[in-house]
């Protein structure tokens, strides 16, 4: 089983890129399975099932962090894809807090970024970009040449050695290089491991303490003017 993980901020064009890629994969007689992990709402799974007739699955992470959700379900998802007869599993995630990245070792990590989100975006999103193998930049036709150059430069500055693909996915432009990389993806190995380290955990907010202010919490904390410190046993 080969695993391809697509991440990127909401509405950046992940699904459009995936549909263009699927079109080209299916033309090569490869039928991937597709898993969508989203927080509250998604209908891409039914659209993709209808358009391509491939096995699809959708999970709402709901109360759970979507990247957390990705970690706890991915092994079963690979088994599901295998049982459904696919040789590839495409996972589309909703990266949100920008401290995690959903990529797994021996998978292909693709981050989709929209050029219209501003020249500073590549500097803001951390491991979702820096741990990816390919950065697909969408909506390139909407911004000035200057901003486009600065955007691409800053992607390369944040994630050295990453492959940058500029695409106008609506018109299927710039999709072939992505497919070329996908076809070279190795098989995943078990047990699977996350690429990179997750953020510092055991968080009181995550477990439901809603009071604002460091004095109401314990564990690893900080105040406005002091760096991280620890309160607790």
């Amino acid at each position: 089983m080969k695993l391809v993980i697509f991440a990127g901020p909401p509405t950046c064009g992940k699904t459009t890129v995936i549909r263009q890629v699927l079109k080209r994969m299916i033309a090569r007689q490869i039928k991937p399975a597709y898993l969508k992990i989203d927080v509250l709402y998604a209908d891409d799974d039914s659209i993709i099932a209808k358009e391509f007739g491939i096995p699809v699955k959708k999970i709402y992470s709901g109360e759970l962090c979507p990247d957390h959700c990705n970690v706890v379900v991915l092994d079963e998802a690979v088994e599901w894809a295998e049982k459904s007869g696919a040789s590839y599993l495409f996972v589309e995630t909703a990266g949100l807090c920008l401290r995690c990245s959903p990529y797994v070792e021996n998978s292909l990590g693709i981050v989709v970024l929209e050029a219209t989100s501003g020249m500073n975006l590549p500097r803001k999103i951390g491991p979702m970009l820096t741990l990816a193998d390919i950065s697909v930049i969408t909506k390139i036709d909407l911004i000035s040449q200057a901003e486009r150059e600065v955007f691409r430069y800053r992607v390369l500055e944040s994630a050295k050695g990453i492959t940058v693909v500029e695409s106008n996915a609506l018109y299927g432009i710039g999709i072939d290089p992505i497919v070329k990389h996908i076809l070279k993806t190795p098989d995943v190995e078990f047990p699977m491991f996350l690429r990179g380290n997750p953020p510092v955990g055991t968080c009181t907010i995550c477990v439901g303490k809603k009071e604002i202010g460091a004095k109401n919490h314990f564990g690893v904390l900080r105040t406005l003017d002091h760096e991280l410190f620890y309160v607790g046993e």
């Binding site: 219209t116 501003g118 020249m119 036709d141 909407l142 911004i143 000035s144 040449q145 200057a146 901003e147 486009r148 150059e149 600065v150 691409r152 430069y153 390369l156 492959t163 940058v164 106008n168 018109y171 299927g172 432009i173 710039g174 072939d176």
Partner: protein, 265 residues
């Protein structure tokens, strides 16, 4: 690598039939126009050039540079990318002040003397636009005409791209025939998508499009060059009328007739 020549090899039109123009080449110093009715595929054509189509776009066209396939680092390295495209949708999204924005772009492009290149860029832009662009104004506060002017100036001067594609600049509220004359001073390849007869006839040749396909390639003959000289006079007259109305004056019959009499044909 220096770009001296770019060649486009034809593909297929919307109905799948082969394009009548099998290939055309543009060399440094050339000005080329793409003409044809709305929806005939002009923008798609320049998108193909911009993306160095290699039979991987819906049209099946192919691009070569200096008679060779396009090198990969041209496509992926921002400071090497030889094409700047200014489309009808292109805009500045950054709200940085003009000077700071141009500094970032010049730095990314590896400019040695950032200050002088910014001055040159702004001077160029200000020749195209009605109201001068101030250095400390936010990019998103620029007017439509100022934005187009700065997009063009930035691509020509800071980007120094050897190939510049301009999609319908006549709608931009800038002095277009002046723009063309200014652009001619720079040794580049300019491709205009245009509905404007002046721009089309001031080009070295034009590609006529229909139904997604290149139908004809027409070189501008001496006779057309004489015609465009006359058209420019009419154009300048219209600009004078525009100026009269813009500045709050009335366009009287006698003023109209006076302007008309100046025409030398």
């Amino acid at each position: 690598m220096e770009v001296n020549k770019i060649t486009l090899f034809g593909g297929y039109g919307k109905d799948g039939s082969e394009e009548k123009v099998k290939e055309f080449s543009m060399e440094v110093g050339d000005i080329v126009s793409i003409v044809g009715p709305t929806g005939c595929g002009k923008t798609t054509l320049i998108n193909d050039i911009e993306l160095f189509a290699n039979q991987n776009t819906p049209s099946g066209r192919r691009v070569s540079i200096n008679d060779e396939p396009v090198p990969e680092d041209f496509i992926f390295d921002p400071s090497n990318h030889p094409i700047a495209l200014i489309s009808q949708h292109t805009n500045f999204l950054s709200d940085l002040p003009v000077e700071e924005f141009l500094t970032i772009h010049a730095t990314v492009r590896g400019a040695k003397d950032v200050e002088s290149i910014i001055t040159e860029t702004l001077n160029f832009a200000n020749e195209l636009t009605g109201e001068a662009i101030m250095r400390d104004i936010g990019m998103t506060e620029l007017s439509g005409g100022q934005t187009r002017s700065l997009l063009i100036a930035d691509a020509v001067v800071i980007g120094n791209s050897p190939i510049i594609l301009l999609d319908e600049i006549e709608n931009a509220g800038i002095h277009r025939t002046k723009a063309l004359e200014l652009l001619k001073r720079y040794k580049k390849i300019f491709v205009f998508v245009t509905h404007d007869p002046c721009i089309a006839l001031m080009s070295d040749f034009r590609i006529v499009m229909k139904n997604g396909a290149m139908q004809q390639m027409i070189s501008t003959r001496q006779e057309e060059k004489r015609v465009v000289g006359k058209m420019k006079q009419i154009d300048d007259m219209m600009l004078d009328f525009r100026q009269i109305i813009r500045s709050g004056d009335e366009l009287t019959e006698s003023l109209f007739n006076e302007n008309f009499k100046v025409l030398t044909f």
